[in-house]
């Protein structure tokens, strides 16, 4: 076998060189992806975390009218509020002051896209996390308890966002959208299942 030197090698085969370069880049990218998939998947919730994030059942039979119950689902506060007729009536009165009165933004499952933002009007289920920067607003059902025109709702003490008794945000608030309604359904008259929208 004769030794190849720059003198007897002939012209550079650009096609071969480009093919080798592209093959190397492709195989290198394949290798990086091969390393990336396990390293990135490792960071996602593990099986016990996913297990702990399954839907939860809540017994609502003992709840009084106007009462708020807070439960933890996936480490987040979920509010269950049994609304009175007066509270439901107040929803229609504030429509003009709301940013998204008809719940056009997809902050709720389709079955909760109504004025009461719930399956059963008497039971409101909301994720208790402000859509601004993640604080948990306070339930303030009493009229005039926050300001003179207050008809009852939720007030976020972090940055002053106000929501009505269906979790709809008022106009010109730091919070950009209505409070989120988690997926839920009633498995029977008194049992609420949070985290699963039912069949």
């Amino acid at each position: 076998m004769s030794v190849k030197t720059p003198e007897n090698m002939g012209p550079v085969d650009e096609l071969k060189r480009s093919l080798l370069k592209k093959t190397s880049v492709f195989l290198g990218a394949l290798g990086l992806a091969g390393i990336g998939v396990p390293l990135l998947s490792y960071l996602s919730p593990n099986r016990s975390t996913r297990e702990a994030g399954k839907p939860i059942s809540v017994d609502v039979s003992g709840m009084k009218i106007g009462e708020q119950k807070t439960v933890l689902w996936r480490s987040k506060p979920v509010w269950i509020i049994r609304r009175s007729e007066a509270m439901l009536a107040s929803l229609g009165l504030v429509d003009g002051k709301l940013k998204d009165p008809d719940s056009d933004v997809a902050q709720q499952p389709v079955y909760a896209r109504n004025e009461a933002r719930s399956i059963r009007p008497d039971f409101l289920v909301l994720l208790g996390i402000c859509t601004h920067l993640g604080c948990s607003p306070t339930y303030r059902p009493d009229p005039k308890s926050v300001d003179d025109t207050w008809a009852g709702g939720f007030y976020c003490s972090c940055h002053g966002s106000k929501f009505d008794l269906a979790g709809r945000v008022f106009k010109n608030m730091p919070a950009p959208s209505n409070l989120e309604v988690p997926p839920y359904h009633f498995s029977d008259e008194n049992t609420l299942v949070i985290g699963d929208g039912g069949a």
Binding site: V25, F26, A29, L30, L32, A33, G36, V37, P38, L39, L40, S41, Y42, L43, S44, N46, R47, S48
Partner: protein, 425 residues
């Protein structure tokens, strides 16, 4: 999977096409922070002797092994809990519940063993070609320190899963300090932070493993490379390539590190990774050598496993310890079995570096010390009874006789004439 491939491909495409517009940016940064010229000097323009053979790949492989341990280690710490109550179960959580946790953990546990394989071959290369001889004494000594740090790192890491072997291994090693006269027992309590190896001990081992020793290893590797690149690489012929340079100061027997050695090492690294992952996927415990069955049982301070054995990479030193029928002397000789290597550059009196040009005496000495080390490694995994004990005493004697005999043998040996330039073959 497909999406990440697509994104990676697109990112590479964008970078390759946008990069030419930023040519000035690199130079602008380099004038202020010479990181690119530093990398070019050390990875590309570094003059490497043209006859470096496959033995020289082990240095590069040791760096790859180090990188693998750092990445997998960072990922493991995300779930590992360093308390006596939770350590064992958090490892089980990683193995069973965390996505690809089993892979990351097996990579880390296989990685340490293969790192030692690579490092032992790397050291053998240095012995064979006389890489410790002047002007590379400090380079060699930094390597001995690195071996010591690596052993400390491996040992502290071995304790973390808090299985039976973890617990009893940590107890045995810490007990070695009790052989120090007068203050020994107080030192043991001080090291343990408790009257017994406990969760307190585990927690400080965690600190040393994850932050202390690993940081020192990184710093020492950096110094090791700085020292190597300032005196230049030795080579299989032991010829000093700096003696003959061209008008530009480039050694006549050197070729630039890139592309010649980078391109040579890449397939070797790929081969290493292939072997690595065959073990990870098909034999992660490696027949009880990489992960012992006893360590899949939670630490129990009341029950010692019937057969305590160290990890294979520490077993030669363990065999020396057991072969000496005196506690203090055993611990001392175990320490000396590494410390003595620090003095090798001054114990070897031969003017010739490479074994290629050394006589039969030096070669016999090298074979003896390497052979007895391997034998000790085997014996350290066997019970210390009967012939095993006799053999380990013989091997210990042979091992230490190297340090006594090498000055004499290397002085009187009939060496061959070392050529002035690297010979053409």
């Amino acid at each position: 999977m497909f999406i990440s491939l697509l994104i990676t491909g697109f990112a590479i495409f964008v970078v390759l096409n946008v990069l030419p517009y930023f040519k000035g940016v690199g130079a602008w940064i380099d004038r202020r922070l010479p990181i690119f010229s530093f990398l070019l000097d050390h990875l590309s323009y570094y003059p490497a002797p043209k006859n470096l053979n496959i033995w020289y790949a082990f240095g590069a492989l040791a760096m790859v092994a180090c990188a693998i341990q750092f990445i997998s280690g960072i990922w493991l710490v995300m779930y590992y809990t360093p308390t006596a109550e939770q350590a064992f179960s958090s490892v089980q959580l990683i193995m069973r519940e965390v996505p690809y946790g089993w892979l990351v953990r097996y990579v880390h546990s296989t990685g340490v063993s293969l790192w030692f394989v690579v490092v032992y071959f790397h050291i053998f290369r240095g012995l064979m070609y006389g890489s410790y001889k002047t002007p590379r004494e400090l380079l060699w000594m930094s390597g001995v320190v690195l071996l010591f740090l690596l052993m400390a790192e491996a040992y502290t890491g071995y304790v973390l899963p808090w299985g039976q072997m973890s617990f009893w291994a940590s107890k045995v090693i810490i007990s070695l300090f009790s052989s120090i006269p007068v203050v020994g027992n107080d030192i043991v309590v001080w090291l343990q932070g408790d009257y017994e190896v406990s969760g307190v001990t585990l927690h400080r081992f965690f600190a040393f493993h994850v932050v202390g020793f690993s940081f020192l290893i990184l710093a020492m590797i950096f110094l090791h490379i700085i020292m190597l690149h300032s005196v230049g690489s030795n080579n299989p012929d032991g010829v000093d390539i700096m003696k003959h340079k061209d008008r530009n100061g480039w050694p006549l027997d050197a070729v630039p590190y890139y592309p010649y050695f980078v391109m040579k090492y890449i397939p070797i690294i790929l081969l290493y990774l292939f072997v690595f992952f065959v073990i990870v996927f098909y034999a992660p415990t490696f027949f009880g050598l990489f992960l012992e069955a006893e360590n899949f049982e939670r630490a129990n301070p009341l029950v010692t496993p019937l057969h305590i054995k160290p990890s294979w990479y520490l077993s030669p030193y363990y065999a020396i310890l057991r072969s000496i029928p005196d506690k203090s002397l055993g611990a001392l000789m175990m320490l000396m079995s590494i410390v003595l290597w620090l003095f090798l550059p001054w114990l070897d009196l031969s003017p010739v570096r490479s074994m290629r040009y050394r006589g039969w005496m030096s070669r016999t000495a090298l074979i003896t010390v390497v052979g007895s080390f391997v034998l000790l490694g085997y014996l350290g995994l066997q019970p210390a009874v009967g012939w095993y004990l006799v053999m380990s005493r013989v091997a210990t004697l042979l091992y230490f006789s190297f340090f006594l005999l090498i000055p004499i043998l290397s002085y009187y040996d009939q060496d061959y004439v070392v050529p002035d330039r690297i010979p053409e073959r």
